[in-house]
Symmetry: C2
Subunit: 392 residues, 2 copies
């Protein structure tokens, strides 16, 4: 396997957009391409993430149109990946495999999604389809319900009283909004308080409105290439040190959802490939679709012992400046969650963190050398972890 690097990265403003999914993707892609000092024609393959192009815009088979929109040729393959909210990370991991194995030298990976025009009723129905359809979806389950049950399970299993857990969950939202407020690309740039979270509308007890990430329009993309090429293209290439992907069973077949099996397996694979341990990670972008999701994920990733992550949040260990900063971008909670793009946006953040480019933004994790992305698709169906490093 060859060493693989990220050259340029690009990302749109997250929020509500008047652009189509393809137009947003083109904007992010061109930023990544220009930032790589290449031309579109240098790209040998497009790895493209999108989830609901059909329901959002009546557009299936979006990858080739996206490829042509940015100037790729008829002979350039374009692959659409759908792994629910992890789609772009699935695309990035697969792009890594093709470059590491020597099939391609230079490719583009990313994703795009345009959710807000769907409206809440259709979006809620659409997202629910990322639960198992025949037993769970038909029973009326939606993601707020799943993660509300997870919060209750967590509270009971680890003996963290629900009011205390709710307070700590609120602190996750407060932290992520504090970070996101400084991110010019974030959807919500307002700081919030624990009281505001706890006083908010109830969505699925114990989750309140500000425990939940929003619907979002947006896109992100990264250029992936060989170490050799990357060194010529950019001043600070960032290495992809390890990748891992897991496949979760439907929830009704899982024993304990606080130990998310696809994540534990994916992280193990990624750490082994990178030759590191969780303690070596300096900065993390975690899939905080709900506040409890960030807490549980940080444990499954080995960043905290099981049952201890909510206390760590209260102690400030996951803030910028804390022991292991989580979601300096603002996370899905504040930055936004355009599901097909989210994994690429996480990679965008980590690559720029490792390049030290967020000093001016005020959210630089100082001295960060190794970063980790964690992207969840469905309620645990597809899980991708990617480890980036400033050294190969």
């Amino acid at each position: 396997m060859r060493k693989v690097c990220v050259a340029g990265v690009g990302m749109t403003k997250f929020g509500r957009s008047q652009k189509s999914s393809i137009e947003m993707f083109a904007e992010a892609a061109m930023e990544a391409i220009v930032g790589s000092s290449i031309k579109p024609a240098d790209i040998q393959c497009l790895y493209f993430g999108n989830v609901y192009g059909d329901l959002e815009e009546g557009q299936t088979v979006m990858a080739p149109y996206a490829a042509r929109e940015i100037g790729l040729s008829a002979g350039t393959p374009s692959l659409r990946f759908e792994g629910a909210c992890a789609s772009a990370s699935v695309a990035i991991r697969d792009a890594f495999i093709a470059v590491a194995g020597g099939f391609y030298d230079l490719v583009l990976a990313g994703g795009t999604e345009r959710e807000l025009a769907m409206g809440t009723p259709l979006a809620t129905r659409a997202f629910e389809m990322a639960s198992e359809a025949y037993y769970e979806g038909y029973a009326g389950i939606t993601f707020p319900g799943v993660f509300a049950m997870l919060a209750r399970l967590y509270s009971k299993k680890y003996g963290v009283p629900l009011p205390k857990l709710k307070e700590r969950m609120a602190m996750v939202a407060v932290k992520n909004h504090k970070n996101g407020a400084k991110n010019p690309l974030a959807q919500f740039r307002n700081e919030i308080t624990v009281e505001e979270v706890l006083d908010g509308p109830m969505i699925a007890e114990p989750l309140q409105l500000l425990d939940c990430c929003p619907f979002t329009d947006g896109a992100a993309a990264i250029v992936i290439t060989t170490e050799e090429k990357a060194k010529k293209m950019v001043k600070k290439p960032v290495y992809i040190r390890g990748v891992g992907q897991g496949s979760g069973a439907p929830l009704y077949r899982q024993k304990d959802f606080t130990l998310i099996e696809s994540r534990v397996a994916a992280a193990k694979t990624a750490y082994a490939m990178a030759g590191i341990e969780p303690k070596d990670v300096d900065v993390v972008e975690i899939h905080d679709c709900f506040t409890i999701a960030e807490i549980v994920a940080s444990e499954c990733l080995g960043l905290f012992d099981f049952g201890t992550a909510s206390e760590a949040v209260e102690k400030g260990e996951t803030r910028i400046g804390g022991r292991i900063p989580i979601n300096p971008s603002g996370g899905l909670k504040s930055k936004g969650h355009p599901i097909g793009a989210t994994g690429a946006a996480q990679s965008y953040e980590i690559v720029k963190q490792l390049r030290g480019e967020f000093v001016e933004r005020g959210t630089q994790v100082e001295g960060a050398k190794i970063g980790l992305t964690d992207t969840l698709g469905g309620d645990s169906a597809t899980l991708v972890n990617i480890i980036y490093g400033i050294k190969g």
Copy 2:
């Protein structure tokens, strides 16, 4: 790049099924696994094609549930590919890249689709989404319309009078039904006549009902591995000699749809990788979603000079026993077209043809050493060609 082979292959009966997409896929996958003399746990990654799981069954993120259904573990990655009707061939090509590059040694690729329960109105709307959405779809175009226009364009460009072209198009349907009648897995096993085609209901002038392939439920899968492993697993490993994939622009940006740019580019790549020319191909499975589609495809693939393929059909050159047999399986027209599975079903047919396993069925292409699959997604958006051979 390492040499890559297909070991076992599997396919369900095509037609109407009471099984879910995942259950159908599991049936095909287990046949491929058993035929490879392996256990599910030996599979390192699943490459899975599906197009409309959300609209058909309310199921997004289907790949991991399919993976777990056949006994793969939480640590086994599963990737869903959507390239409209070419989805399974996109999956197979990507699986080839991972094995050729040395990332994996043994993987499973295939696809599944469950269309018939949608009903014609929703299915028609769904399929239309594989046209470009903002300019073409909104203008009311559907695939029968696109291919009807292609037939008229072909007639005019090459000076084949429309009544003559219609007769020859009907001969494509007659040939494919004759082949499909012998295929126990085909959806339609009735032979038809040219008169029946020409007397049928008009769908989009000049395409009549029997010029069009059906909606279908079905699944197919193949095990892809290294040459070394395949030789130990099966008596007759079949090599993947070359792969090519193209990305077509929206139709309104293309100059001449009789020269399908994504197909010309994909075929060129595949032939070059295989180190062969079109004349070296012994048997072909072509994407005959409409009868005119088979004619045009066979020219873009270099099997006939441009403008001559309809005459070749009349002369019987594409029959079994003819110069270059096309669609001995019955093709999409007779075998059926479960869109997410079609590419894998084409590969199933070619692998078995090269193994010489269709003598009893009565559709063996004698002495076939090199076979080609051709799978079209959308009206030309994604095009995949795969070349198989009995030698590496």
